[in-house]
Point group: C2
Chain length 331, copies 2
């Protein structure tokens, strides 16, 4: 019998989660039944949207108190009762925050052989990469010469948004929370500039860096940064709303920007939910994998080792202290 | 020498304007110089955007204290020093709040002969009609079966939005501020329902009337009504932001809806400024004039007589007590 180590939600956090909201338990797994596979999880993805699952308000599902945390894993099949899978197969599954998973692999996906290391299937060549790709390719109407601003710019989504926009000929300005992050974005990822919002006024810096206004704003945060940018849109601007980091740890639903900001700029503001673009995953890999192989798209993985580190790493992500894509290495 | 009676801005209002903020004066007009015409103004249009001009923050211009109020008029040429115009011509001009105007008619437009009475060139077959037309035709992506909600629904823009959307096969719900207005919209203008926001909760009524959510929201007000609707958008909703009646009399720029409303619905929110669509005026008249002639588009004109009535009528418009398109008859 296989024993899985898993992280459950001990108590629903108020505000930012801490390690104390989680608990590591061990439990036996039933052997895989007909059609099922037993997987060893190699890498677990930690993502901001999980905070909304914990609060019970995410479209992808809710976590009850005492329930296992949900999450995507890169996994290896170690026992198979499903004709489509053989031992040794590496697949992407909804494995959860645990070391082993038994499941009917109906929504499992094979890992594209161009994705190496395999952990990238959780980051720049997975859901966050697809988020960036879909936003720029399908919603932002990006064109050469546009000034694009992206917040949470060093995160898994933000860093790809900026770099992909650069390939479209945009002038790219990031917003991030430390000098180290800003330096990486400008020196390594090729951003034209980066605003450290903890040290500088976003409004003043945008005025200085975007004297003709912001043509595209890719928002991962909401809150005051969104408001500052909305008042500084160029006529015809496009805004992609993607993340809500500024309110994700709050029960409140604070107000947003005044509608005059949108009228004044004749802006088009669109909401992005990556699941709507899931069928574009191969298209995204076609686009990004060669650029990554050629070292033309840079990325950072923030890897912790061991399932017991998941709560610590998630709390750090919620404090904005992660540096690149947050991954737990389990294998 | 021609004497014009004109309304000037005596004092900049705080909050809603009253008659006391305006003053009627008489002044002599210079004879028309080379290229100029002298016009007798027959009808003056009063519109909500003028409040923003008075506050000095409208894209079309600002009114200094002591200055004449701006506004579009239907005018008759009574003296011409311009080869393109002859005495008796009826034209649309930026005549201002006055009885006579001398100007170089560079941006004057002839009145389409299908527009009768001529006052309609200021309303349903003029700028407000074009606003409704552009919003539905170019921004709302209206299609058969969509549920459309429009606020300030009995106004010059709102009533045309709803009726035009009906011709596209939409299910149309208005929001207006009196039983009389709601009755007219349902019984005369063919709206499917109308919410009297002064008597009922907009949120509750939308929940009741739009159980599948709102596909298109055409917003003329901002404020709490906008917020109520944004939380009730259907997936894939389109929102056209057009007017700001809820904040037009305030110096504050209050916050707007939470960005989660847009993400959740994968909505597309667009700002509408009618001047961007000015070249579509003939196209709008082609579309609306036959429908009006066939009595298939209903309208109301709220006509007061005499330039001295302009401040009274404008104050009434600002209190939402107008009923249809506000016009001052001068001729």
């Amino acid at each position: 019998m296989t024993i899985t180590q898993q992280i459950i939600l001990k108590s629903r956090p108020e505000g930012r989660p801490t390690e104390d909201n989680f608990e590591l338990i061990e439990c036996p797994l039933k052997a895989p039944q007909d059609g099922e596979v037993l997987c060893k999880n190699l890498f677990l993805s930690l993502d901001p949207y999980m905070r909304s699952q914990i609060a019970g308000r995410h479209i992808s599902g809710a976590i009850p108190e005492g329930g296992i945390l949900l999450g995507e894993t890169v996994a290896e099949v170690i026992e198979s009762n499903n004709a489509s899978y053989t031992v040794g197969d590496r697949i992407l599954i909804q494995g959860g925050w645990q070391t082993y998973t038994v499941l009917k692999p109906e929504s499992a996906r094979p890992i594209d052989p161009r994705i190496a290391p395999a952990s990238l299937a959780l980051g720049v060549l997975g859901m966050p990469g697809l988020t960036a790709y879909a936003g720029i390719q399908y919603l932002a109407e990006a064109k050469k010469g546009d000034t694009l601003v992206v917040s949470a710019a060093s995160g898994a989504v933000g860093s790809m948004v900026g770099q992909f926009a650069k390939t479209k000929g945009c002038h790219v300005i990031g917003i991030a929370g430390s000098k180290e992050k800003c330096d990486w974005l400008v020196k390594e990822a090729g951003f034209d500039a980066c605003i450290n919002y903890k040290e500088n006024s976003v409004a003043d810096e945008i005025d200085r860096l975007c004297s003709k206004g912001v043509d595209i704003y890719f928002d991962n945060v909401g809150g005051p940064i969104l408001d500052d940018i909305m008042w500084r849109l160029a006529v015809g601007a496009r805004v992609v709303l993607c993340g809500l980091m500024a309110q994700i740890n709050s029960e409140d639903r604070p107000a947003g920007p005044n509608p005059a900001t949108i009228i004044k700029a004749r802006a088009t503001v669109r909401g992005l939910v990556v699941y709507d673009f899931w069928d574009k995953m191969p298209e995204m890999v076609d686009c990004f994998a060669p650029l990554i192989a050629a070292n033309k798209l840079k990325f950072i993985e923030d890897i912790s080792v061991g399932i017991d580190q998941a709560p610590v790493a998630f709390a750090r992500l919620m404090r904005g202290e992660n540096y690149g894509k947050t991954i737990i290495k389990l294998g």
